[in-house]
Amino acid sequence: MAQENRRSFIKTVGVGMGAVATSGLWLNKLFANTVQPVGEGVFGFTKEDIQKLLGIALSKGGEFSELYFENKISSSVNMSEEIIKSSSESISLGVGIRVIKGDQTGYAYTNELTFDKIKHAALTAAAIASGPSKMSVANLNEIKPKVQTYDMVSPLTQARLQDKIKLLKEGYDAAKNADPKITKISASIADEIQRITIANSEGLLVSDVRPQARLRVTATAEKDSKLGTGSGNAGGRIGADFYMNVETPTEIGKKAAKEALALLEAENAPAGEFPVILSKDQSGVMIHEAVGHPLEADANRKKQSIMWDKMGTMVSSPLLTIYDDATIPNYRGSLNIDDEGTQVEKTMLIEKGKLVGFLNDKLSAKILNHKENGHGRRQSYKSPPIPRMNNTVLAPGDTPPEEMIASVKKGFYAVTYQGGMVNNAGDFTFSVNLGYLIENGKLTRPLRNATLIGSNVQILKRVDMVGNDMGFFLGTCGKAGQSVPVTAGTPSLRISKMTVGGV
């Protein structure tokens, strides 16, 4: 339950995640040697049980019912102040039951997986409708996701704790050895395996097993009495070999140290309106806030988003083409199916400046008479699905980033972020952790903690250069009290004028 209708993107993931399977017998069997779903039974229930429960959920006149079974095993190890301080394992297991009638949703969940408990929850959710049963449940037809976007060859969850500690130490040491001014370091490695099965009254029965991992290093640099804290992290729905082949813990640790050291020298940003260049590395936060959230279908079908009546019109500079694509392999927001069992796809949102699509969940697609496009997501079995982003991407243009910097006389260059936030009115902020001053076409002094603010209808039209480079930002997106993992990617961008919060 969120008081405010604001959506945020936070780069820091909170407490981390798990490892060895420990739950009931059927779970031990499932996770004994494999992370692939086994064919027989759904979380210990037969197809007939599931069919019966879906029917009970419709018994008061609901039009659609759904069961969402979820088991998540997460683990993490933390190192700080030279020692491995602790490790954790977390197991969550439960089922959420949803009943829809018209645009009304009844929802209940339980973490006791017995037929009677689920039946009780199904009746609770069913009460959103009142009347005689109208719909029957279609015969369940088990399907397999059409894509495999995760690296399931060597999920980090299956790695031995000793091996995870080795990766962790490598990241920690890289930050420590980067400079004697680095005085405090903390590092964590977190992984999870989420197994879900979705069954609904339209006859869908589908399962997915999703890995997720992240290695993170935070470092504080100290000089005289000044302090600066920086961080680095990398991960996604990857295998353990990611940390050897794609981004090593050493690179992550160095990144953290580099940011901390730069912040040590950083000054306050100037205040006022300036040309702003968003560097490729983390500026995905900009399209996540300014484009992604305002195009989520729920706020548009309710006419709350500023974009609701702009379909087919120019909403940005013609230089911008933006899409959301869960099928990019191994990214943090990649999916095989969404949390309603819908096939994911590359969804075009803005084509050369023209608004062409919304991010739909099943309910919004039905009400708007749009096609479902795989964006119904939820934090866990405790929450109903809502339209969300997966991997949101702004396609690269043709300006070399150096040329962009050279074009600015006095301006602000944004490098790393704490996050961003947007409201339905389209007002958004990015909180820049580290930036640079641009003077006469060159990056000069490092700048710290500046908020950039704008309204999307204006700022999207002020993007006048799009880089030929590309960077991706791993984030955790918050909306309506639910957090989900996402990625956002952009090339470098120049915004002709934007307010920079400084002194």
Binding site: M1, Q3, E4, N5, I10, A19, V20, T22, S23, G24, S80, E81, I83, I84, K85, S86, S87, E89, I91, L93, G94, D103, G106, Y107, A108, T110, N111, A127, I128, T183, K184, T220, L227, L263, A269, A271, G272, E273, K303, Q304, I306, G419, G420, M421, V422, N423, N424, A425, D427, T429, S431, R448, N449, A450, T451, G454, T499, G501, G502, V503
Partner: protein
């Protein structure tokens, strides 16, 4: 499973962990049930009702720590979880500062804190739905309100149980009910959204729908036709909600972990003057019926009323058992962070404070992250009302304010008399001089 059985589950698991070789074991269980109804345009949009439980475990052997949690509370699952934790602990490093708290002799009279109101159990779903609809029905009738963003009513009841191998065993019940509505004003591309939300640990203390709706109408319509202003340095008047935002930032800077990890500008500052002489900030978990109250923290350590800033001097950090040991101090019962964390009221009415401002901003809400405990820097998107010659004039948006807590705490020039304990972190209206606003 009855409540006594859950306490027994916790105590039994402590014994099991000890029997399997752990030197120290701590088990906590949270059990809760919740009901939420969300309405839009007088129709139910979502209705969620459920109960759930989860257990957390910490084992320590040879000063090596492992933690675990599970929503499956069957003995087999919990034993396996504990066995795994003990095995994992062996692979971590020995940490001389690790350890559970000594069993404190302080006894807190849990019932006198009034954290649980049995009347919440008597509220019917029909009543909750009616309240959600009612607050929306009143609010959308407000002058200049364009539409509803949705309203809601909810209740949570829960029980927290903690047992450890040092002999602590305790549990308490808590409850909350809440009611709120979100609104939009404006038209076309110039819309504004805001709302009002109230919560209370007891049914009788919850603000009525009429008053909530009026507050929602006030905050959303006062922002109609907001303008961007030019970049300048002026005093900012923080409404109580905004003072609360600043205090939340301060509380993250005095958290023990931030201190020993050197991620705070307040390292080694105990006993030093960090704010004006008239600034008093307190943390107090014992206020009857207040949202941050608790008989003990997440480690079973009871807290007491404690000065954080007294007459401008920093007096205490908020410490868990671990961070206290790291800093050579004593736990303040702060393993779960601050409790009721508030700035003492001053003598001025909000009106007087606004009157005192020649040119400045009444800050009404913010957007964005922009707080860095390491440096004390704060920078956020700002909404507010422009003050000219002591009068509120036009609304302001698309600007930011920037400052640093170190100087902001010293530049608080007026303190309001309007402190209310309506949230765990609370403060009165305050005026801070010399704030940077970025706009045009």
């Amino acid at each position: 499973m009855s409540n006594n059985n859950l306490l027994k589950t916790a105590e039994d698991l402590v014994k099991y962990g000890k029997s399997k070789g752990a030197d120290q074991v701590q088990v906590s269980i949270g059990e809760g049930s919740s009901f939420t109804v969300e309405c839009l345009n007088q129709s139910i949009e979502n209705l969620t009702e459920a109960g759930s439980r989860s257990l957390s475990l910490k084992v320590i052997l040879d000063n090596k720590v492992a933690t675990a949690s599970s929503s499956d509370l069957s003995p087999e699952a919990l034993h396996q979880l504990t066995d795994n934790a003990i095995e994992r602990a062996k692979l971590t490093s020995s940490d001389p500062f690790a350890g559970l708290p000594d069993n404190d002799a302080i006894q807190v009279d849990i019932d006198s804190l009034k954290l649980f109101d049995p009347k919440i159990l008597e509220l019917t779903p029909e009543h909750k739905i009616a309240m959600a609809k009612e607050v929306e029905a009143i609010a959308v009738k407000g002058k200049n309100v364009k539409s509803s963003n949705g309203s809601y009513y909810g209740t949570n009841i829960g029980r927290t149980i903690i047992a450890n191998s040092n002999g602590f065993s305790g549990d308490y019940k808590h409850s909350v009910c809440y009611n709120g509505v979100g609104l939009q004003s404006g038209k076309g591309d110039k819309i504004y959204e805001d709302g009002w939300y109230e919560s209370s640990l007891n049914v009788a203390g919850l603000m009525g729908t009429q008053e909530i709706a009026e507050k929602a109408i006030h905050v959303v319509t006062r922002m109609l036709n907001a303008k961007k202003i030019k970049t300048q340095v002026v005093p900012i008047v923080f409404e109580p909600k905004m003072t609360s935002m600043l205090l939340r930032f301060l509380s993250s800077c005095i958290n023990g972990r931030s201190i020993y990890m050197k991620q705070s500008w307040l390292i080694d500052m105990i006993g030093k003057e960090i704010a004006g002489k008239d600034i008093n900030i307190t943390d107090d978990p014992t206020i009857v019926g207040a949202k941050g109250s608790r008989p003990f923290d997440g480690e079973g350590v009871p807290g007491k009323k404690m000065p954080i800033i007294e007459n401008g001097i920093l007096k205490n950090y908020i410490l868990s058992t671990y961070s206290a040991k790291k800093l050579g101090m004593k736990s303040t019962g702060g393993a779960s962070g601050s409790s009721n964390f508030y700035m003492a009221a001053g003598s001025h009415s909000q009106e007087e404070i606004i009157k005192s401002v020649d040119k400045g901003l009444l800050l009404t809400s913010t957007i964005g992250q922009g707080t860095v405990p390491t440096t004390g820097d704060i920078s956020k998107g700002a909404y507010g009302i422009w003050i000219e010659n002591g009068e509120l004039t036009y609304p302001v948006s698309e600007v930011t304010f920037t400052g640093n807590l170190a100087s902001m705490l010293k530049n608080i020039s007026m303190i309001g008399n309007d402190l209310k304990f309506d949230r765990a972190v609370a403060g009165p209206t305050i005026k801070i001089d010399g704030m940077s606003i970025s706009g045009l």
